[in-house]
Amino acid sequence: MQDRPTAHELLDTLGRFLEDELMPTLDGPAAYRTRVAANLVHILEREEALGDAQLRRERELLCGLLGVDAASLPKASLRDQVLDLNARVGDAIAAGRIDHVQAWQPLMEIARAKLAIIRPGYDDYDARGELP
């Protein structure tokens, strides 16, 4: 077992270093790239906390769309299973075997879960007022 700080604590430290110590000393493109780097660190922090649970839920939702049982999937890492399921669902949608209305709700749930990691709050806006 590694000693403290944990990976999560180190990411937090790294983010604070980039934002609070490094960024104020920079300007122009370097400052911008450092802000991007700090944002990526925050994404990794949230992915560390939420990623596995999200992948399991995504597996469940995609299995539901395909009408298969998660327990019957070929043995592989969770990530590889979800990657494969995404390919199968994408193909099924492209071929019209899963229709728009059926696919929309689960895909929206997955999209919102991804946002909770990459951009919390982005889904506060839902563009309902823009629909024709």
């Binding site: 911008y32 790239r33 991007v36 780097a37 944002n39 990526l40 994404i43 995609l62 990657l83 995404n86 390919a87 669902v89 994408g90 193909d91 949608i93 492209a94 019209g96 728009h100 209305v101 696919a103 929309w104 895909l107 929206m108 999209a111 919102r112 991804k114 946002l115 990459i118 951009r119 982005y122 889904d123 806006y125 839902d126 563009a127 309902r128 007022g129 823009e130 629909l131 024709p132």
Partner: protein
């Protein structure tokens, strides 16, 4: 680099104006791999000219001659579209390494968040959208015989089909399967609009970021590199994609105005707005940008353009997937 640019500009202007010209000030605003934008002052001894040069720094990477962009800008200006007036252009590589054109420097903001701060202060967002709508209507009204011949034409006069075909090729090159993109492609194919009555000259990228905005409002449309012949509604829809609102999501047009003033300006200058077609092109633009961001991440991962901004783009694809699903909400 700035010394070489300063020297090249001074030589070029001295020869063209037939008097000794110096460059007392210059500022590089963007130095991408492909294009160089430099603000500068040119002093001819009697007058100080405030100018901007847009250059391809290396003739070998000049896919389309940049002087043709100057042709498009002049065509738009002649139709009454606000642009930065082109003063001179040249395809002679001896001055800046590649072709270039020089425009008057128009005062105002172009950086999107600064534009939005200015709009917040001056409360002129609706007026900017109205003027943008009118500008695009004037552009779209340019008759066929005056559309520059070098601009890309849609296959079979069908911009939607041409864009879908190009997207399909890009989807095939994605690094990982994307069911949301598949859903979007299927939706687009099922609702593909008929070809427009007349494919028109479109700007192609008239979004917040390519507009010069001052306290007086919209001053000019910049960056005509992506102009082509296409569906006029594509030109109105692209600036309304959520990405270009920079956080001001309720303001559909570039984060500074609702759709109504854009449409009002478009129709008042003779344009015909088609809501269904507009929506279709907004969906297409959103999907195209999702693929564009995925492509940036791919360029980072495969080593062709390795940098942290390109890497981060990969983790923005999810934003566009969400936007796409919002636009495709079942009724």
């Amino acid at each position: 680099m700035t010394d070489a640019v300063r020297d090249g500009l001074a030589r070029f202007l001295s020869e063209r104006w037939n008097k000794r010209v110096s460059i007392p000030w210059l500022s590089v605003t963007s130095a991408g791999a492909r294009r160089l934008n430099v603000l500068f002052d040119a002093d001819d001894g009697a007058t100080k000219h405030e100018l901007v040069v847009t250059a391809i720094p290396n003739a070998n990477i000049e896919l389309t001659p940049i002087v043709l962009e100057a042709v498009t800008i002049r065509t738009a200006e002649a139709a009454g579209v606000p642009v930065a007036h082109v003063v001179l252009d040249s395809d002679d590589t001896r001055y800046l390494g590649g072709g270039f054109f020089i425009t008057r420097r128009v005062g105002g903001e172009t950086v999107p968040r600064r534009v939005l701060r200015l709009v917040e202060k001056c409360k002129h967002g609706a007026a900017i959208a109205t003027k943008l709508g009118a500008a695009l209507a004037k552009l779209h009204a340019i008759p066929n015989e005056r559309i520059p011949p070098h601009l890309a034409r849609p296959e079979n006069g069908d911009p939607a089909a041409t864009s879908l075909l190009r997207l399909q090729e890009q989807v095939a090159g994605l690094l990982q399967p994307a069911p949301v993109v598949a859903l979007g492609m299927r939706w687009l194919a099922a609702r593909k609009p008929s070809p427009p009555t007349r494919p028109v000259l479109i700007h192609g990228d008239a979004r917040n970021g390519n507009l010069i905005v001052s306290e007086n409002g919209l001053e000019a449309l910049l960056d005509w590199e992506g102009s082509s012949v296409g569906d006029p509604m594509a030109d109105l829809a692209w600036p309304c994609v959520r990405t270009w609102r920079f956080g001001e999501d309720a303001n559909e047009v570039g984060g500074f105005a609702s759709l109504a003033p854009l449409v009002k300006g478009y129709e008042s200058a003779g344009g015909v707005f088609d809501a269904e077609r507009f929506h279709w092109w907004k969906v297409l633009g959103t999907l195209r940008w999702a693929i564009g961001l995925a492509g940036q991440a791919k360029a980072h991962i495969d080593g062709s353009v390795p940098n942290i901004v390109m890497a981060a783009s990969g983790r923005r694809v999810g934003e566009l997937e969400y936007d796409l699903l919002c636009l495709l909400r079942p009724r």
